[in-house]
């Protein structure tokens, strides 16, 4: 689609030829009114984007600017504390993402495709963990699953499971704060899929579950991937709920954010920034690789609008 001719800007409009208007197209007849009307939103589009992007990126850059001269990267990477924290972060966030996707997808589907009494209430209840200050979330988790919590004694006597201070608690804390992001995004994604396509799949003898996998999921992939990224990122940066519910113990519950915090606590801000840079670089790589893989899996055109 979107044809090319002549020399074009590097930045190309994917879908709307409006912006392909070249200066000569107005043939000296362009009415100023129309020109203005077309120009100002475009100016706004770029200006607003530039402002927000600068706002988001300058602080990130600041971390590196401060961290790099300290030259402590190699030391940090060699530090077993850092390595263990990084490894724990990657493992627990992967598990969190898995849980969020496996259990969150049904919830999102339910909310998107079924109509039942209290649906809106449920939808809103699910949003509340996002509202809670993380430390409160941690306290809430303790009160629910802790030794004296609502479910804690049952878990302990029936399953012999004491959750706080374990790696499981880290995953639970992360899931608690991150899963709602996946659910919200997936729900919006499912809602954007034309139900007619699902109906037709049914007439073709394809079961509901197969339809879900082969039609609904591919068509809502951008939303699902966006949700997965948000949930993963939120989990990776999670600090307050984790330290409250899981505590801070190297190799078991000390994730990167906890390690960074502890470094800051000991008055070594620069070292903390180095760890933060490592976290940023690792996340960036993971995200880029993940997107590349997804793009590859979808053959780059998995979406109708691609």
């Amino acid at each position: 689609m979107g044809a090319t001719f002549g020399a074009m800007n590097e930045i190309r409009v994917l879908t709307d030829p409006d912006l392909v208007v070249t200066p000569s197209s107005s043939h000296g007849r362009r009415q100023p009114g129309i020109g203005m009307r077309l120009a100002s939103p475009r100016v706004f589009l770029w200006l607003a984007s530039a402002i927000l992007l600068a706002f988001l990126l300058v602080p990130l850059a600041a971390i590196f600017i401060r961290a790099i001269p300290s030259g402590a990267f190699n030391d940090s990477l060699g530090d077993p504390v850092v390595r263990e924290a990084l490894q724990l972060s990657l493992v627990t966030t992967a598990l969190t993402l898995l849980v969020a996707i496996v259990l969150g997808t049904p919830v999102a589907y339910l909310l998107a495709r079924y109509r039942f009494r209290g649906r809106d209430t449920l939808d809103t209840l699910i949003e509340l963990p996002m509202v809670l200050p993380p430390a409160v979330a941690g306290v809430a988790l303790l009160m629910a699953f802790g030794r004296r919590g609502i479910l804690g004694p049952t878990l302990s006597t029936v399953f012999g499971l004491e959750i706080p201070f374990t790696t499981l608690a880290v995953v639970m804390a992360q899931t608690f704060v991150a899963a709602p992001f996946f659910i919200k995004a997936a729900k919006a994604g499912f809602e954007s899929v034309d139900p007619d396509l699902e109906h037709v799949a049914a007439t073709l003898g394809i079961s509901r579950i197969q339809t879900f996998w082969s039609v609904t999921v591919p068509l809502s992939l951008p939303a699902l991937m966006g949700g997965a990224v948000m949930a993963w990122a939120r989990a990776l940066g999670e600090f307050g709920a984790t330290i409250m519910f899981a505590g801070n113990f190297m190799g078991r519950t000390q994730t990167m954010p906890l390690a960074i915090y502890q470094t800051m606590e000991s008055g070594r801000l620069n070292a903390a920034l180095v760890l933060s840079s490592i976290l940023i670089v690792v996340s960036f790589s993971v995200l880029i690789i993940f997107k590349g893989l997804a793009r590859f899996a979808a053959g780059d055109i998995g979406r109708p609008n691609a």
Binding site: D194, L197, V200, T203, L204, G205, R303, P304
Partner: protein, 371 residues
């Protein structure tokens, strides 16, 4: 798949559904045959198909195939679409936008019937080939023309060799040659599979040439279900008549006289062959355009037995390509006659010319007035 051995019809439909501006109430049944659903836009044809496919739920009634009850409001049955084994081509194709043409066709084979990949692909290729799409197999729907999309949808519906075919204007986006070819294919498929095929069309010629019988759906009800020829020749009411292309409907009163029956109409007394209507009954006389012959002045009339002659003036001529419509004003009433281009050329007609029309008695149809 074994041919069903069954006493009843292979598809029996008797359903109602209340829609915003329409109360749908359709009743019909069909065997291993092709039935056309023919009717005005918005009369409920697509909705009927959707209810049979299981995509929409009727309010009340039943739908039964030879082997299954699809739906029965009395018994509380509503079979999942997956288990109805219908091949459904929706009016807007509903192709899967993320799959190529080939994958769209392979889809029901792989996921529905769980065929091995190779076999499914071979079969899909075969279908695409049959529909002239071999070279577009790897294009996605957005990269296909309208007609190509429609053919992919046809291929997809056929792939699983369904027990019933439901086609919603399946050839509407196709040109005449492909259309003719596909009709041929469908006739062959239907004969091979011996299944009921229900298809919606707006094209009378298509209904006539593909379907044995035709159901005329008007305002949500099946008004007439019969052989196509019969509906064309003897529509049950004025609306059906108009809809199947009766251009001339002249009101009149039946009168029996010594040598036969005629109807007194604004264009004079027209002889009619037979009617069960009583003497003096008000009636509508349907005169098909091709039941009017145009007579060049001075032409011998001997061969035109059983015809009523009227005279008028040519008020308009419209060239429809394969036929020419001649509009003539007779006693203030506009009559439309139809000629082949060659005949029209021979007659050298011009607007304003006086003209003689022979209304052939054998092709008239009389329906009670107000029906």
């Amino acid at each position: 798949m074994q041919p069903a051995i069954s006493a009843g019809p292979m598809l029996d439909v008797d359903i109602t559904k209340r829609l915003a501006t329409l109360d749908l109430a359709v009743v019909f049944s069909l065997d291993a045959e092709v039935l056309a659903l023919f009717g005005p836009s918005g009369s409920g044809k697509s909705m009927t198909l959707k209810m049979i496919a299981g995509i929409e739920t009727p309010d009340r009634g039943h739908i039964r195939s030879a082997e299954h009850t699809f739906f029965d409001s009395g018994a509380g049955v509503n079979l999942a679409p997956q288990r109805r084994r219908v091949g459904y081509v929706p009016q807007h194709y509903a192709l899967f936008p993320h799959l190529t043409a080939l994958e769209n066709v392979t889809f029901p084979l792989r996921k529905g019937l769980r065929w091995p990949a190779g076999r499914a692909r071979d079969r899909a290729h075969e279908l695409l080939e049959m529909f002239g799409l071999a070279d577009r197999a790897h294009a996605r729907p957005r990269q296909l023309s309208g007609g190509q999309q429609q053919r992919v949808s046809l291929g997809r519906a056929l792939a699983g060799e369904p027990d019933i075919l439901l086609l919603d204007e399946p050839f509407a986006a196709l040109d005449a040659p492909i259309r003719a070819e596909l009709r041929q294919e469908f006739r062959a498929i239907q004969q091979r599979l011996q299944i009921p095929v229900l298809f919606v069309t707006h094209d009378l010629e298509e209904a006539a040439s593909l379907a044995g019988r035709m159901a005329v759906v008007i305002d949500g009800a099946v008004r007439q279900l019969d052989l196509t020829r019969t509906i064309l020749d003897r529509p049950v009411d004025r609306q059906v008549a108009q809809f199947v292309g009766a251009r001339n409907i002249v009101p009149g009163a039946v009168r029996r006289h010594s040598t036969g029956i005629c109807a007194d109409t604004p264009i004079g007394a027209i002889g009619i062959a037979a009617t069960s209507l009583k003497d003096g009954a008000r009636a509508d006389i349907i005169i098909r355009p091709d039941a009017i012959r145009i007579i060049r002045p001075g032409r011998p009339l001997d061969q035109l037995r059983d015809a009523t002659m009227v005279s008028g003036t040519i008020s308009d001529l419209i060239d429809h390509g394969t036929r020419i419509a001649v509009f003539a004003t007779v006693e203030g009433t506009l009559l439309e006659a139809s000629l082949s281009p060659t005949a029209a050329g021979r007659l050298e007609l011009r607007i304003g010319d006086p003209i003689q029309l022979a209304i052939l008695q054998a092709y008239l149809h009389v329906i009670p007035a107000g029906a």
